[in-house]
Subunit: 334 residues, 2 copies
């Protein structure tokens, strides 16, 4: 927040920065107390809320557009995991006394770009003052066909476990951000370093995979708190256990190099947060159609294990068939 | 936040304090990434979001249950103004490092009491850490019959203007909170003082008036930023002017005394915030049915003026027929 510039009052702030984002009729140009939304017949609404706080969920000096995108995308990732296409969102932004027009412009540019990329619009907003850190709270809603919203609790013994994209990049990006010297010790290229940093800075919600998940998944969740901890949660909810072969985990070339060079990187890959990939289970008879549907959506998916009987939430993690002792690390926000 | 006590981790915190509030099936006991909600046929969803920040919207030493209720009620007031019955809400709570179990218990007790009083349940929640002030962000949603959601923009020349409850109590309560000596200079009783303080501390959203508003109002909004400023906003949205006779304004006995004793109290009554009453317009032919419907809902309503032709947003304010020069004061959050 460098330059002060002129500072509009709240009405002007809404008119100039937020109203252009409220393109749906129900939002009434943010001129009303509340918005209206009528879901189309045959669909259920999916609702989620997630907030991000400077110094906790992002770096205070992150670019404003990246902060905006993160706030929106962590919510879109939850919708995608429930098979829901995004429809709209409501946003609360807490600004410190020294906020600037430039910062807010970049912030709303980030929102605008993502609205276009993911097909949703702003339905309500609130701006508040704070003397603490900047924070952004988003409630997003989307649509899934009736009866097709996969829960975490739907996994059955014999189901295959799939993961979208690759795992661990964001956690490694965060390590690099905190300790830039790791770049050298991991022996990665500048492009690979930038890939990891970018994966942390800009989560990629798997929105294009939503309809595939709605069609085929028996259980699904997004991986935001570490792969193994989140798989443990899914298994607990479903009252099943899981077997995972870590040699099958989808890794980016950068992550592969980091893992070879640095034993500590393994904990980040298996237990670190911010992947925003989708972890889904499906019965073996759906594997072929699921993979074909994901391919058409241009989202890579990888089979990483299977649901087995056993104590709820127990994970059997192997590498080349050899059982590893990997304590699951659930990310705790407190 | 007096005692530390034992401090549960995030999973335990959700299980112990928030899960009992998530009583609807779609909330999946908060064990999932997102909630599901299917609005009944023939209804439109109404969505609103409002956040409150310690030191800005409430006093940091307010009782935790009152903070929780305020966070929920300011949103329910928006729903009621759009004719919507509450259905559910999503909540984000930012806690400082020194939060206590006692505080959180009181906070969630406040939510539970209001869920029962107003007929809604928790559909999603997020808890985050903050090193700044405590804040609470709520997104509430409700239902209004299709085509019955009154906008701010629907007022027509000739419509009557109605206000629920009484005006100014909360603003006077805030003045008293800031300067307890006013109690003496206003010459009010202890009960009257407590009434004003309570009206500030615990907004009373006019949820019971929602269906009456949906049936009869041509335009409606909640009064949260001062009666005259909000009426000005409604008239701007509707491209009309208004005539208001302030001798007709509904005042509590306490407010009446304060007004007689203290000229400054008038600005608080006409321009102060936090009333959370409903300001509605309706065509004269609906007056009788509207009043009867409000009476059955046990919400007092008072006719305070009428919509007239003229420049959009212009207010003609009279006292005993004599035109007053009262600058409208829109509350600005920045």
């Amino acid at each position: 927040m460098a330059e002060a510039g002129e500072r509009p009052d709240e009405d002007e702030l809404i008119a100039r920065f937020l109203r252009p984002l409220a393109t749906s009729e129900g939002a009434a140009e943010l001129r009303d107390d509340a918005a209206g939304y009528a879901p189309p017949p045959g669909h259920e609404l999916v609702l989620t809320t997630d907030a991000i706080v400077a110094g906790v969920h992002f770096f205070p000096d992150d670019p404003a557009d990246a902060i905006a995108r993160r706030a929106l995308r962590v919510n879109l990732s939850d919708l995608a995991a429930k098979g829901a296409e995004p429809a709209g969102y409501l946003l609360t932004l807490a600004l410190p006394p020294d906020w600037t027009v430039n910062w807010l412009e970049a912030f709303t540019n980030g929102l605008r770009a993502d609205q276009q990329a993911f097909g949703l619009s702003l339905y309500g907003g609130d701006t508040v003052r704070t003397h603490g850190p900047v924070w952004v709270s988003v409630t997003a809603f989307g649509l899934v066909p009736d009866g097709r919203r996969p829960l975490r609790a739907g996994a059955r013994v014999g189901d295959c476990i799939y993961l979208s994209g690759s795992v661990g990049d964001a956690a490694l990006g965060l390590l690099l951000r905190q300790n830039p010297d790791l770049f050298k010790s991991w022996g990665i290229s500048i492009d690979e370093r930038d890939h990891l940093l970018d994966r942390y800075l800009k989560p990629q919600p798997r929105v294009r995979l939503a309809s595939t998940i709605a069609k085929f998944a028996s259980a699904s969740m997004d991986v935001s708190d570490g792969l193994l901890g989140d798989l443990e949660r899914l298994c607990e909810a479903s009252d099943v256990a899981a077997a995972v072969e870590i040699d099958n985990l989808p890794l980016s070339p950068a992550a592969r190099k980091a893992l070879r060079a640095d034993f500590d990187a393994q904990a980040a890959v298996l237990g670190g947060g911010d992947d925003y990939e989708i972890l889904a289970t499906l019965p073996p008879e759906h594997v072929k159609d699921f993979e074909e549907s994901a391919r058409r959506a241009r989202i890579p998916v990888t089979r990483i294990g299977e649901i087995v009987g056993g104590a709820a939430g127990r994970l059997r993690v192997t590498s080349g068939g050899r059982v590893l002792n990997v304590p699951a690390r659930k990310y705790q926000h407190f």
